[in-house]
Amino acid sequence: MTALLEGFGQLANVQVLLCIALGTLIGMLVGTFPGVTATMAVALASGFTLTLDPVAGLAVLLTIYVAANFGDRVPAILINTPGTPASIATTFDGYPMAKQGRAGVALTTSAFASAVGSVFGIAILMTVALPLSAIALQFGPPETFALVVFGLTMMVTVSGPHIIKGFAAGSLGLFLATVGRDPITGADRFTFGILGIADGVPFIAAIIGVFGVAEIFTSIRLRRDVTQKPIQQLGRWWPTKADLRRMPKPLAVGSGVGAVVGAVPATGGDIGGIIAWSQAKRVSRHPEEFGRGSIEGLTAADTSSNATLGPSVTTTLALGIPGDSVMAVVIGSLVIWGLTPGPTLFATRPDLVFTIAGIMLVATIAALGLSLLRLRGATKILELRPRYLWVIVLLACIVGTYAINASLVDVWVMLAFGVLGVTMRRFGFPAGPLVLGLILGELAEANLRRSLEIGGVGTILASPIAVAILLLSVVTVAVPAIRRAIAKKRTTRINTSTPEETR
């Protein structure tokens, strides 16, 4: 009870509330503008929030995280382009609704569904985070190493169909994490006398490079400097009673799916939304409407993608393994603030759970309020040429990175990672595993070496939890690969048998 009061009490601060207001505005804008992801915005914001108090800084980062998941519905519904990957499933029914002249209803429904999902996820954070971290406190080096492996394999699996390339990216990230001091002996490694990397690769700079600069560079390379005309006829705003009667089921499906998907390391709102949409279709009385403007499909997808937020934060802070790519960035900031995520964080600062939950709750209310304001001008943002935003983002990336240590070395590191990121994307290597490897590298190495020092591989094999997590990691990689191979074989068989059959 004390922790709850202390946690929420930290929000009664003008600076924190101003940060939430700023974060909401930035998050909504970021979400509304396709091509600028929440990960990119949070990475960028982490550059200047490092000069703030941890609670104020977290207020900015978490509010952008939450609000971007409201703003991204606008382009998904009005121009059939997801503002961030989390609103991919919103396009399935949101855009068809808009084409039918029901854009207003779609926007309102989406806002409320997102808010319900968000609150459900926050409730999970408040109830599960402390017990989960208490369990994780029992984890020793073998279990922690296994958890890192699981986080990395999940990131590789969800980053796309290129498993080998994903592992290669992860391996490079883990290697780059070895720059600096050896975690066991303290010896210098790969610093080449450069002071700026004596404590390791500055990972906020690396993250801004990979998620911010590389994203803009890719857009420049692919000439994405075009705008689409949004649907202008928004129609009525409020759902009818008949619409409302159809919502409880998809709200429940979306909340449930989002809670589970969000808790799995490295998976986020994009996957949650798609799974919830297909599950809601299975249990719906009108599955034929899905994909053609179903209010149930829209509700399930948006509830789920926002319900992943709370569980994702829970996994990140209680276990130290990022729940999604935004959380990977937030971990970087937390480490610099001296709040290293992991089981011990909540053991020493239980109030932090409620501070974070409070920030996310206020952010949800603020984002819902902004979403319901009938700002027709907001649709004008969609008509702005991206080139102006690219220049602003690139300049902010440069200054934000410089602001971390007032060092131009960080800026050069960021640019180098930007070039690395754009090259990787060009050749189909996912960036997520690289960043996760960079962030979790030290944790992986230190815990593996400690385990092996104690009693060799036997130490890991003697831990049922570690073995179970490692087996789960193997399954998460093997199952999709086997499924794809079977599907490919089936397609080849059908293709080769077709001429015979048609003869």
Partner: protein, 164 residues
Amino acid sequence: MVQHTSGTPVDNEQGNRAASLELPQQASRFLIPAVVILVGVAMLVLAAALPASNVPTRFSPSWWPAALGAVTVVLGVLLAFWPENSDDEDAVSGDIRRLLLASAIIIGGVGLWAWTSFLVGGIVIGAGLLAALGERRILVLLLFPVVVTGAIWAVFALLLRVPL
């Protein structure tokens, strides 16, 4: 059964053109695994060059980087046998010249910032990038970078007290 006929000069020309278009894909099939293997070998070489630790330990500081290097080499070999061709919309060359120009402007601008101040470097980056991205209106090219650089400078230098 598909019947193959001898190619006319036109067919041959089309075939040659198709072959020349396929060449980069063929090259990338071997190039990507080769680069991954090279990166792995570089990791191994760097790890081998690390000095031995004074602290008595079963696993030296070079053990983990070397293991990662070996894993990367294996992954490169696997890629050579199971190439993962990308059908992502990002996995095309696109306008490389435009990207190189943008990168050069940013690098030049940051270099200029190191010698002068952020205000100068920022305005050069802003104006240069806008021009490289196709903006041709002089007023926009002059005003937009000044306003954006000024606003960013005000936020960071005045509000957040970052010495720019």
